[in-house]
Amino acid sequence: MIGVGKIKQYTNVLDKPLSRGRQEVSLSAFAFLFSELVQYNQTQVDNISELERRLEDAGYAVGARVLELLCHREKGNRRETRLLGILSFVHSTVWKVLFGKVADSLEKGTEHEDEYMISEKELLVNRFISVPKDMGAFNCGAFVAGIVKGVLDGAGFPAVVTAHFVPVDGQQRPRTTILIKFAEEVLRRESRLG
């Protein structure tokens, strides 16, 4: 037959090149899967902060793996050592790969030196979710906060990351802000690096 190439057979799965994979996943499929994740965790916990912590832990696992994958795929195995570098990596590259677009904004906190905020009009994971009134300020974006925490921890920038709803004038739905509070050692190292 004309034009048939020979496919190289890899004996060891570790030798196979890391494919780029399918770029797009059905949003509905993800939404149902995420909904099940939340529902499953709801049956395992007694209160809302436990539920948030569990979602964060689930996201943490994703974040750690995403960091490894993207460092290899997108950045040619370069390692970020500066604060702004890792933050823009999260804000642009990680968001682009996970949610198909860069995050809406990245801001430095005005009150505290160690706080940064990534804002989004509406997180992809929250697109179809309406939190009932009796759950208060619970935000399924805790999952995304966990992803960010996983990426930052893996890159050597330990931080406390939380997701918050911020009401906006003139808009019915509140904006979501991922608040990143870096640990002391990160700021000390950053000031040392100048």
């Binding site: 149902f32 909904s35 939340v38 309406s130 939190v131």
Partner: protein
């Protein structure tokens, strides 16, 4: 011109899970709306048996002097029906759009229990947007 009076959504066992009033008559009493929903559920089921043709899936349109009732049944048995002014057009399309909103904002919501009354903020929000747009389009003609 033509307007929607009310929208009902009933689950597969005939229980009312969503009721919204758009007409000037004001909201029906809760018990009355529940009774109406189960009445329609039964009539819908009986009509499937009464039909002289095979493979009938139930009543799709009921026309009366003062109103029309359009009904859409999903494959899972959930029924969406809208009571509107006689002669209103494109109600079937509207029902399909509402069904899509239901699958998006109700079924993908982890806090919604199946077959229970719908209490989803996003569903209400998008539904009123669709009804407004529909109303605007009708008035524009």
């Amino acid at each position: 011109m033509a307007a929607i009076y009310s929208l009902f959504i009933i689950n597969k066992s005939g229980g009312l899970i969503f009721y919204k009033e758009y007409g000037s008559a004001g909201r029906m009493d809760t018990n009355d709306s529940l009774r109406l929903a189960s009445l329609w559920h039964s009539m819908h089921a009986i009509s499937q048996q009464l039909s002289p043709t095979n493979g009938c899936s139930g009543i799709e349109l009921l026309q009366a002097d003062t109103f029309d009732l359009h009904c859409f049944q999903s494959l899972t048995g959930t029924k969406f029906f809208v009571v509107c002014e006689p002669g209103t057009l494109h109600m079937e399309t509207l029902l399909k759009v509402i069904y899509e909103l239901y699958t998006d904002y109700v079924l993908k919501n982890p806090f919604y229990e199946m077959e229970m009354p719908i209490r989803c903020e996003l569903f209400d929000l998008n539904l009123s947007q669709v009804i407004q747009k529909d109303r605007g389009a009708l008035l524009g003609r």
